[in-house]
């Protein structure tokens, strides 16, 4: 069974940005994603939460390495200045890689 190496891009962001980031990920070419709501955290910004629900969400998406780089750059450019958002990538192995590409 052949496996393919992809990148798992993880974005942790304020809840309020969920819909917007997912819309933008799709525009960048992402074909699937998984969101875990209700995560909470602390970073260098303290707690800029604006609603009372779970402060943060985690968005994960398996993509090819080029798209991973693009997503990281996009998030950095559009969110790092004003929002509590971080992004990182991990190396993942999948089967059925055509599904994600």
């Amino acid at each position: 069974m052949p496996t393919t190496k992809l990148k798992l891009v993880t974005i942790i962001s304020e809840t309020i940005l969920e819909d917007r980031i997912i819309r933008e990920l799709k525009q960048l070419g992402v074909r699937g994603y998984t969101v875990s709501g209700e995560v909470r955290g602390e970073g260098t910004r303290g707690l800029p939460t604006v609603d009372f629900g779970g402060q943060n969400i985690r968005i994960e998406t398996l993509v090819n390495p080029e798209l991973a780089t693009q997503i990281m750059a996009y998030i950095a450019e559009h969110y790092f200045a004003d929002y509590a958002v971080i992004v990182y990538t991990l190396d993942a192995e999948v089967i059925r890689s055509e599904k994600y590409l």
């Binding site: 309020i16 917007r20 209700e38 800029p48 604006v50 609603d51 009372f52 629900g53 779970g54 929002y83």
Partner: protein, 320 residues
């Protein structure tokens, strides 16, 4: 003196005491936690219940009595954010974004404060107009829009206005309030009676539970009080008194009953903590959330709940 009595009476109501218990729970670092889902459910309940009752009452009201208060409410929604913005910039020397963000919050309205003043008046047997929830809905949005316009003009930004407007109008508080009102209006008092064991009788008790949670939320903001500084603390107490008096006065001009004017004043005095923060965070991300959330939740909300409401009731005496 009479106001002091009212304050004492108000402070000993289960609702205010529950808020205090929530504050205490946070200060002693209790492991008491209110699940977010329950918080969400309670706030859906409160907004829908307010709307339903308002709508059922509205269905029995002559709409001729309604236009003057509606207009005055709109006037409040337009003028408060402008005044607040000028004060915050001139006296407070805040950044444009921060001043506009705060102006949006103080021009808009807190539905829970509305629920509290309503409950306060009912406990004192003071009558008020049934259409007051409509005024909550009217007051909620204009101030936010005006404050955002001010900020964009001052900062020279453009931006996606249509999207911001849609999000404001489809925001859950407006949707539930107006939606509840339409349901109440269409199904009338008979319809309301069918669901009264859920939406009428338990209202105060649910509000009490909700305020327990609000106390915890507010207290978590207390540690930011030092960060926001003395000016904002003063602003969070004095601005409501100014706005409250202004609201009572306009209410009396609009021909509202004394109870109605107290409610309108309280609405004017209250600061939003649902609709405004969400809109401001998206449309004015450079504004520091510590300022507006702390002022609204940790200063103005408790002030209104504990002291403001009886105070506005006392002040209304000068206009009636």
């Amino acid at each position: 003196m009479e106001i002091l009595d009212l304050v004492r009476l108000n402070l000993l109501s289960p609702m205010v005491l529950a808020f205090v218990l929530g504050v205490v729970a946070t200060l002693v670092r209790s492991d008491l936690k209110f699940p977010d889902e329950i918080y969400t459910a309670l706030s859906i309940y409160l907004l829908l219940a307010i709307g339903l009752k308002g709508g059922a009452e509205l269905s029995e009201t002559a709409l001729a009595d309604f236009w003057a208060p509606a207009l005055m409410t709109l006037l409040l929604g337009v003028s408060i954010p402008i005044v607040a913005y000028v004060i915050l910039r001139r006296l407070g020397r805040l950044e444009v974004a921060d001043a506009a963000a705060l102006a949006a919050h103080y021009g808009s309205v807190s539905a829970v404060t509305f629920a509290a003043v309503q409950t306060f008046l009912i406990a004192l047997d003071i009558p008020f107009e049934g259409f007051m929830p409509t005024l909550v809905a009217i007051l909620e949005i204009p101030a936010i829009i005006i404050a955002l316009v001010i900020a964009r003009v001052a900062l020279g930004q453009g931006g996606n206005w249509g999207e911001v407007l849609r999000e404001l109008l489809a925001g859950k508080s407006i949707l539930l309030l107006l939606g509840g009102m339409v349901i109440g209006f269409l199904s009338g008092r008979a319809g309301l009676a069918q669901v009264a064991p859920v939406f009428v009788d338990p209202f105060k008790g649910i509000l009490t539970l909700f305020l327990l949670e609000m106390g915890m939320v507010a207290a978590r903001r207390f540690r930011d009080l030092r960060r926001v500084g003395f000016f904002l603390i003063a602003f969070g107490i004095l601005m409501p008194i100014v706005n409250g008096t202004f609201g009572i006065w306009l209410g009396s001009l609009a021909g509202l009953s004394q109870g109605g004017a107290v409610i309108l004043g309280t609405l004017a005095a209250s600061a939003s903590y649902i609709a405004a923060p969400a809109a401001v965070r998206i449309a004015l991300p450079q504004a520091n959330p510590s300022y507006y959330l702390t002022a609204s939740l940790a200063i103005t909300f408790p002030f209104n709940l504990a002291i403001g409401i009886p105070l506005y009731y006392g002040l209304a005496g000068f206009f009636y």
